[in-house]
């Protein structure tokens, strides 16, 4: 849809009220036993298994891809009786330089490679270079592109500039799926988060994503509450369902459940599948494995007994 500034400017978010809502997401709902096991399996399938470090090499990316294919130990899969579900992660997320490595390593698995792009994480490289980077990643085989927005456009309220930027990235992505990273930890207010979410969706983002993982504050539930409400609002206005990806700081299985609960409560069951929900994470998978092992054996598990990421 075109940029509708009236809609953008009318958006209001009350931080205290949002925080109260966010605080009760983990206390109003919980899942136990078989339900919890099922939900954790679902979390795995929604995971963008990620490595975005300066010391990434083909070696550790290959290892990550192997884990993406087989995220759970076979004995656990058997014990859970979910072999036929072919549990694997939602995507593997890497820097552009490692896209070819990941694509090769995941060949035949059906797992898409996602590339962070557009001058990740600050997004302040020359605009032309950022566009080229998107095109290069797509050409290298990335089926998903995680772009970062220029936070300055949000902080200065320059919504047309933000809209134009995201729209240009969207066009550059071609057939690739585009996730717009808002960098919410640098947007100052929840009202800015709401407005940036809405502009990104109007400009054609397939997903809106909280953070790069490099901001001082990353994926937190109040931000999730605001962004999911905007997705709901956008769907109500346009009928289009946009996906959501929290990323950064999600390390515990319990957090993954909280995010799933948020999706189910604020958006609905459609948003519990990888088509509309991704969790950006790296060490989270290990904790989920441990919890599943505990469910199966009744004993608390140790990380070193699970193949490392």
């Amino acid at each position: 849809m075109p940029l509708d500034l009236d809609v953008i400017r009318a958006l209001r978010v009350n931080r205290s009220a949002v925080e109260r809502r966010a605080a009760t997401i983990p206390t109003r709902r919980t899942v136990k036993k078989e339900w919890q096991a099922a939900w954790l399996l679902r979390a795995i399938t929604c995971m963008d298994l990620t490595t975005l470090q300066g010391d990434d090499t083909p070696g550790n990316v290959v290892r990550l891809c192997a884990k993406a294919r087989r995220p759970l130990r076979q004995d656990l899969i058997d014990a859970l009786g979910v072999g036929h579900l072919d549990i694997k992660v939602g995507a593997v997320c890497v820097y552009h330089a490692l896209v070819p490595t990941a694509v090769a390593a995941l060949e035949g698995s059906g797992i898409p490679v996602a590339a962070v792009s557009t001058g990740f994480p600050a997004g302040l490289n020359p605009f032309a270079q950022r566009l080229e980077e998107v095109q290069a990643s797509v050409a290298a085989g990335a089926r998903e592109i995680d772009i970062v927005i220029t936070r300055a456009h949000v902080l200065t309220g320059d919504w047309p500039a933000l809209f134009a930027e995201v729209r240009a990235f969207r066009d550059a992505c071609g057939r690739a799926h585009m996730k717009a990273i808002l960098g919410t930890g640098e947007l100052a207010t929840l009202t800015n988060v709401a407005r940036a979410s809405m502009v990104a969706m109007m400009a054609g983002a397939d997903f809106i994503k909280t953070s790069t993982g490099k901001e001082p504050v990353n994926a937190v539930l109040p931000v999730g509450v605001v962004m999911t409400r905007m997705i709901r609002e956008y769907e109500m206005r346009t009928g289009a369902a946009v996906g959501f990806k929290p990323a950064g700081g999600i390390r515990a299985a319990k957090q993954a459940l909280d995010w799933l609960i948020l999706m189910k409560e604020e958006l609905g069951d459609r948003w519990l599948k990888p088509a509309l929900f991704r969790l950006g994470a790296s060490s989270l998978l290990t904790d989920i494995e441990r919890q599943l092992e505990h469910f199966v054996t009744g004993r608390y598990a140790a990380a070193h007994r699970h193949p490392m990421v």
């Binding site: 978010v13 949002v18 099922a38 859970l80 009786g81």
Partner: protein
Amino acid sequence: MATVAKLFETMEYGPAPESDAPALEWIKQHDNGRFGHFINGRWAPPAEGQYFETINPATKAVLARVAQGGKADVDAAVAAANAAAPVWAGLPAHARARYLYALAREVQRHSRLLAVLESLDNGKPIRETRDLDIPLVARHFYHHAGWAQLRDSEFPGYVPIGVVGQIIPWNFPLLMVAWKVAPALAAGNTVILKPAEFTPLTALCFAEIAQAAGLPEGVFNVVTGDGATGKHLVAHPDVHKIAFTGSTEVGRIIRKVTAGSGKKLTLELGGKSPFIVFEDADLDSVVEGVVDAIWFNQGQVCCAGSRLLVQEGVADRLTQKLRARMEKLRVGSPLDKAVDMGAIVAPVQLERIRGLVEQGVEEGAKMWQPSWACPTEGYFYPPTLFTDVSPAATIAQVEIFGPVLVSMTFRTPKEAVELANNTPYGLAASVWSENINLALDVAPKLKAGVVWVNSTNLFDAAAGFGGYRESGFGREGGREGMWEYLKAEWEGGNAERGTRNIAAESDEPVPRSDFRVPSSGALPPIDRTYKLFIGGKQARPDQGYSRKILGPDGRVLGEVAEGNRKDVRNAVEAAHAAAGWGRGSGHMRAQILYFIAENLATRAEEFAARVGRQEVAASIARLFTYAAWADKWDGAVHHTPIRGVTLAMNEPVGVLGIAAPDDFPLLGFVSLVAPAIAVGNTVIVVPSEPQPLAATEFYTVLETSDVPDGVINVITGGKDALAKVLAEHDDVDGMWYFGNAAGVKAVELASAANMKRTWATVRGRDWLDPRQGEGREFLRRASEVKNIWIPYGE
């Protein structure tokens, strides 16, 4: 394990039950589920041997049998509390603080037992008892351990009232124990607690906690039972104060029963609280606010935001969002950790809710409930939304006390305030707007003891809670709550009971006309007519009767008008028309009080001829005192655990009736009128009946002092009869009466109709002594504390 694969597809919530085993075991350990009263530190079987059952409303299972308290049980508990009173009150403040601290710690140590027991007995979700009720209970005892420690330094000249009877409701059984018991004990009182018959278990568990905390015997007693038990407690002559939380209906009965008894009284009653949504509000957050307002505790909350008032332009969108949200609410076993609503407390309450919803439908409102079904084995009711409700509809007026929201629209902020205040109640209100100017303009205009801005149902021990109007009087929590359990040391003992029979008093002022005896002397004196003073004018009395005023030597000093009920009516209207007085600045009121003092001083000799120099001088000083206070009667910012401020604002009570004492005809009049108007009230004063001439002469002082018309109205005549008319007037917000026992009783009885706050006493005081005749006590009586919660953060 095949189910995991299936659940992976459905992604439904499973059961998440909290175990009830430890709580049931606790019940069983007590005489196999049979509980006596807790009197004098020991369990005592009921004197009459009667027990009643308390059930789990989610399953209808009997949880325990509990003693039915009779007169003998209440007598025993009151005797124990009386015996313990001097010992407890005599402890050093620090010792009481240690006990309250121990209670807080004990509550925390047994928090899960209390949470489960509460959920079982009441039917509310374990999430609420675990996350809200029990933490608030502990918080209340911590906070009041602090007040216990600081009592002597922060309330100098004040002492405990003595023995307090406390009757609490079933909707927050243990939280209400804390709200009642913590301040009472912190102030140094001893307590007899009567929990609600539907939900006695946590109070009994708390008795055990008190035992474990080593609370001295008799300081805290529990007598269980029904309304009859409460009646014995309320009527007991050795109980010095009653604190009640419950329905306005029962509150009214208690007000009547205690009238003239000298018992102090605080009542926290019903409500029909408005939830006001302006078009610039964060509507998604509003939806969650509504969930917390009316679907918290199944809507069985006295301050539930049960009247949704929405600005017209956003009403449809909000209704749509609300319905979508309601579809996602989960009703089920209260012990399930993933439900939003549990069971209704008892079948009688469920029937009441059903009946009122049916009536709402019959009266033409549009009813909507989510598509899912409630469990059928217990007492459950689904969240319910009414739209197209008119203010005249029954469901818009009466308190439903269930998960039923009625929605209405408004056009302007002014209309929102009018609709919000269009109720006999005044407990709480919620205002939603992202415009600080609008929110903070509306909050003070709402007749409610608590106003939540962009939030709802926030509670804390540091902030006062309590109502305006028929939602009761008195505050619980904060410094304002502590005053309810203290009295001035100079008052001495608790004997303030009337002897005269109210039946002997006439209902109507009896008209009388006395004729003046012609005076001797060459020239007749110029005749002076003392009229009434209404709306800034000297007005002839409605009936045209006068009464003769005699001097101490029997000489006729003059004649004053004989006021009647129509004069009272006119004066009340004039007083309401002058309501702008309270909205003006304290500085403006101070200037006028100073001006009154100045004008009185210029005529000091003339007044001295009537009442003596000392009284005139004291009256001038008193006017200065309240001129001084007028711009210093500050509120407070309470330390509540939110990011934001909780403002405790002193607001005028409104229109006050004042029956001045017979002695000190000028100083008594000034000592009551000055604090009342300094705070912003407008008043109708009945001056000293035998000596009204100082007051009638005072008209001209008022007239020359720029007092706005209607701020002070004076009606001379039969004091008790006029006081009764004022006390009965539903548009008078408060009544002060200084007179005889029969008059006290009549005023307190009549006040029950609209629950006006009364200050009625036979106790004489030395009006010349500033410690008794002026100060904060008067200002507190003249004010309502409104707590405005303003969370902030962008």
